[in-house]
């Protein structure tokens, strides 16, 4: 699709003003008549069983309207997660909820719930669970195997090897895949390097906690929630409530960040619905920061060993990756798998093996977190690549160039092909923008007590799916209404993907309205707002719907004004005859004509390949103007990935271990750039989130009591704006992906791995080759390393 007026333009985001002025309404900003407030009873222990829960004293209080427990929700078979539970498997898991006239009363009522609880043994660190006689996180066992949960223990000899940082001989993962001849590839390697790696779990820390409000009307429940997706959240909430999807209305106009923790809402969203049903009044549950850290989800920690085989010129021949996954207490997370596939793409080894051991732990539940798996792999493996490059005396940018994937490069165990990869172009653009060849000369230079280090890292991640629907209406007011089922969590894709429809239809952006944020507003079948899918999937879907509308407009014009449909063009909100601009109709007139003619023009007749969700919405909108509605049937041959190369310059104070981030420059291949402002927000924001994980964010548990020490921002320490350079530039290759009509790929996720790995590589560079393959790299760890002191924890110990 040729670029023109809208795509690639620097439009200010439409949510900017509402957010700055406070007009934007988040879930907790809504009110309803007679609304009650809810508070939760959380599990005080990491694992236990409720013997008895006496609610009588709470219910006897003035102003208390309802108490719900596990019995008020559909039961769930283990290891699934129930809304409320009598058998908590992590500290802070919700057990009961109270609705009262105000929060003060609700909190006091929670304090009057009498909980008699049996404490059960718990496992926090996967290694503790793998020890001989170590605790299991659940009755069913401690690891995920082929057939579900089973019990697996290592021998004391195995554990002794682990304590020394070595991979025990003979231990195996419960999951394995491989490609190529691994033994042969290692045999041909000039350098084999093996390192233990520890990537911690950590909380998502969205600014908006997962508050929700519910009321019932005419048999339907209306839920105001904080969710990443809108349309696809309806089904999830209905499932947790045991209801039909059509009886659930989801409202989410603005969401204050999710990062994978609120993909389809969140399980606690439905607690106010149950309370509201019982109390017969609307109920608001405002989730606190404390609670958010308990049940607000976390990244899945990965630790283990990586073994690389390098050729003398830096080419990576073989990777053998063994990952112990800190899985949390519920279903098997897929991080280990994405860690493997992302590595296979980033390094293009001839042969590779992934072995993984997902270990259940009694720690907060996991979910995807921005580039799940891929981020952990890149953050841990890139410094090891640097260590090899140093030994082989190969430039670190060159090592990335020689291994870089390109168009149709294979990825993962089934060796599917990527649709496009302009990685070499991104590396070369970054070399120029960052001035790599000059800056690398600063490597290890000491000025006073400060040593300079530079780093470069390559981070790929999946960038798009396809096959969903687009739905739009041109109404008699002459405006274009693009219905968007994706959410508004700050990524701007709900706006930017609609640009495509405006572009195709020659519609001024100011005359284009986005209809979103409420499932009663008739939304098309959409992707979940996750996995960096929306930019790719919904530029395609909106392109398809706009092409459908355009064809209909051309037909209507030809019917009224003569000639063939192809004689007509669209621009500036009207259709006109090519070469004779005066012969035409306004879109307002076209909308009227479509409504008169009906049939396929105004949505009364629909294509058969549309998803039933779209059909439902299109039927509701039929007769309101000219409808464009279509499934994305465009070709999509291959796996779509985006890439970010991060360049970083740090100073490390050798007397304090403090890292000063002086420069960070991300360069991306995300296909065609839709909106440069949105792109900068994603690649800088994601990069800083990665730097946050690499340098600051804490996830530490007291192993005796099983409790988390960092439940507040000031103790969990996500990056602050004062920790980062005032000015940061970025680069974009801006070349279209050939397997999508608009050329744009998703860019939510790859930035984070680039930030984390680039800063880790830069620190190692400043330290003259001390590689710390563990997060976070806090001053204590760095100072211990500089001064040659042994760390305050075991080689693979987590939660420290």
């Amino acid at each position: 699709m040729p670029k023109s007026r809208i795509i690639g333009s620097d439009f200010p985001q439409r949510d900017l003003l509402p957010k700055i002025t406070g007009r934007a309404r988040y879930a907790e900003d809504f009110r309803a008549d007679g609304m009650l407030f809810a508070k939760l009873l959380l599990s005080p222990v990491p694992r236990g069983r409720v013997r008895r829960l006496d609610t009588s004293a709470a219910l006897a209080m003035d102003g208390v309207y309802a108490v719900v427990t596990a019995d008020d929700f559909p039961s769930v078979d283990p290891p699934g997660e129930a809304v409320l539970t009598n058998e908590p498997v992590y500290q802070g898991q919700p057990i009961a909820a109270v609705a009262a006239v105000d929060e003060t009363t609700a909190a006091e009522a929670v304090e009057r719930l009498r909980l008699d609880m049996e404490r059960l043994p718990f496992a926090l660190d996967p290694l503790d669970s793998l020890r001989p006689n170590g605790p299991n996180a659940r009755d069913e066992g401690n690891v995920y195997g082929d057939e579900g949960i089973e019990t697996l223990k290592w021998t004391s000899n195995d554990m002794a090897a682990v304590e020394q940082g070595r991979r025990p001989e003979g231990v195996e993962g419960t999951v394995e895949w491989s490609f190529g001849d691994l033994d042969d590839a290692f045999a041909r390697a000039d350098l084999v390097i093996e390192e233990p790696i520890v990537h911690q779990s950590q909380t998502h820390h969205p600014m908006e906690p997962r508050s929700s409000m519910a009321y019932w009307r005419n048999g339907k429940v209306h839920l105001h929630v904080s969710t990443q997706s809108t349309q696809r959240t309806q089904q999830a909430l209905a499932g947790w409530l045991g209801m039909d999807e059509e009886d659930v209305v989801v409202v989410s106009e603005y969401t204050g960040g999710g990062f994978g923790s609120k993909i389809r809402g969140t399980i606690t969203d439905v607690i106010p619905a149950a309370l509201a049903r019982q109390a017969g009044r609307p109920v608001m549950m405002r989730v606190t920061r404390d609670e958010e850290t308990y049940f607000g989800r976390a990244r899945t920690g990965l630790s283990g060993w990586v073994k690389f085989g390098f050729r003398a010129d830096g080419r990576i021949l073989a990777i053998d990756l063994f990952l112990i996954q800190d899985n949390g207490p519920f279903g098997r997370a897929g991080d280990f798998n994405s860690a493997g596939t992302t590595s296979s793409l980033a390094y293009q080894p001839e042969a590779m093996r992934l072995q993984a051991l997902p270990v259940l732990t009694n720690t907060p539940p996991r979910s995807a977190q921005r580039a799940p798996g891929g981020m952990q792999a890149i953050a841990m493996l890139e410094p090891v690549v640097d260590k090899a490059a140093r030994q082989l005396n190969v430039d670190r940018l060159d090592v990335r160039l020689i291994n870089a994937p390109t168009h149709r490069s294979p990825v993962g165990p089934n060796r599917s092909e990527v649709t496009s990869a302009y990685v070499r172009e991104a590396l070369e653009l970054g070399r120029e923008l960052f001035d790599w060849d000059r800056k690398k000369e600063l490597s290890g230079q000491v000025n006073g007590t400060k040593a300079t280090g530079v780093g470069v890292a390559l981070s790929p991640y999946v960038g798009g799916s396809s096959g969903v629907d687009g739905l739009l209406v041109i109404r008699p007011d002459g405006k274009l209404y693009v219905h968007q089922g994706i959410g508004n969590l700050g990524t701007h894709s709900v706006f930017d993907t609609a640009m495509v429809a405006a572009e195709v239809l020659g519609m001024p952006w100011e005359e284009t309205e986005i209809v979103s944020g409420d499932t009663s507003r008739h939304l098309p079948r959409s992707t979940v707002q996750a996995g960096s899918q929306t930019t790719h999937a919904h530029t395609r879907a909106n392109h398809a719907a706009a092409m459908d509308a355009k064809r209909k407009i051309q037909e209507l014009a030809a019917g009224d004004l003569g000639g063939a449909p192809d004689d007509y063009e669209v621009a500036d909100g009207r259709v006109f005859r090519r070469g004779s601009p005066a012969t035409g109709l306004s879109f307002a007139g076209i909308a009227e004509r479509a409504m008169e003619l009906g049939g396929r023009y105004d949505g009364h007749e629909l294509a058969e390949d549309l998803h039933s969700d779209t059909v439902r919405s299109a039927r509701a909108l039929a007769g309101q103007g000219l409808m464009g509605v279509a499934r994305d049937n465009y070709s999509h041959d291959g796996s779509t990935y985006s890439f970010v190369v991060g360049f970083c310059l740090v100073e490390v104070d050798r007397e304090t271990g403090v890292v000063d981030l002086k420069e960070y420059l991300p360069v991306t291949d995300c296909g065609t750039v839709l909106n440069p402002r949105s792109l900068a927000a994603q690649i800088h924001g994601g990069g800083l989130q990665g730097i946050s994980v690499a340098l600051f964010e804490k996830w530490a548990f007291d192993s005796q009591w099983g409790v988390n020490s960092n439940k507040r921002f000031y103790t969990a320490k996500p990056v602050s704006i004062l920790d980062v350079p005032v000015a940061m530039d970025y680069g974009a290759v801006d070349l279209p992906d050939p397997e999508t009509p608009v050329g744009a790929k998703g860019i939510g996720e790859p930035p984070i791995g680039a930030g984390a790995a680039a800063v880790a590589c830069a620190i190692a560079d400043a330290l003259g080759g001390i590689y710390l393959t563990r997060t976070p790299l806090t001053p204590d760890k760095i100072l211990n390393a500089i001064e040659g002191r042994s760390p305050a924890y075991g080689p693979l110990q987590t939660h420290v």
């Binding site: 508070k39 909190a107 304090e111 007291d702 192993s703 000031y714 004062l722 001053p779 204590d780 100072l783």
Partner: protein
Amino acid sequence: MGVVRDMMKPFELFQPTELDGALDLLSRHGSDAWILSGGMDTFDWLKDRAKQPSVVVDLGGVSELKGIEGTEDGIRIGAMASLTEVATHPEITSRYPLLAESAEKVATPQIRQQGTLGGNLCQDTRCWYYRSGWPCYRAGGNICYANTPTALNREHCVFEANRCVAVSPSDTAPALIALDARMTIRSRRSERTVEAEDFFLGPATDITRMTVLRPGELLTEIHVPQRWAGQSYYFEKVADRKAWDFALANVAATFQRQNGRIQDARICVGAVAAKPLRLRNVEAALRGQSVDNSLLEQVGELAVRNARPLRQNEYKVSLTRNLVKRAIRDART
């Protein structure tokens, strides 16, 4: 019983507008009264229900406690002066840059706007076990959760542990001790003045209090004497983040020099013991000396001679040694 956190309980709020009124209230309610200054320490405690005062006395309306002005012998700072005011007041930035810099390193711009100097000095320790409401020694119990073989104690003390291993969180306290400040303490019936160094208590003296303040007493003003104005000085705070973080260690030092030699010095380190620790042995070793590498090595070792690290905080010994050395080496004029 269910436990609720991050949600305040109701209390009776008093908002006096005069100091005498505030002191009356504190006297009347004794240990039931909670003193609210900027709220930056208070609100955590109240929201977590770990402290449940029935009465809160908000000092925000007491103008007598505000203000910064020069005196015949130095400068007087009202306890309710905001940290931003302390960091930016021309009398302080010109005469006591050590104090201004220490205030400027506290937390965030927003917190410095709201938080007060008095609050920064009187705030309770940040040991997370204690602040989470665990029944430890400091909370009146008979165990320290932070000093067990499995405890998380990276942030805890390396000096003068006595059952409790919590640390002083203040950045301004070491600066005021280095500047030999005096604290004015008033109650309804009396007024007393203590040296900054003596204002703070370690667990050996009183395990449940961080300062000498007793119920009914209020820190009303801080007086910084002329003697150390304009002398060479050094302040540094080491923390994980550059904002919204408490020190892993900090150092405040001031020096009188003559003919290339140190005539006198005051050095204090924070966040490594339950109170800010004045290093008298280092000060003594510096007097009359000119600074060279061997002196730095010698006093660096002296500074940490009595260090007893816990499982996770041996790095704090290095950090203290290095900060003391660079305070002497890199002092500014």
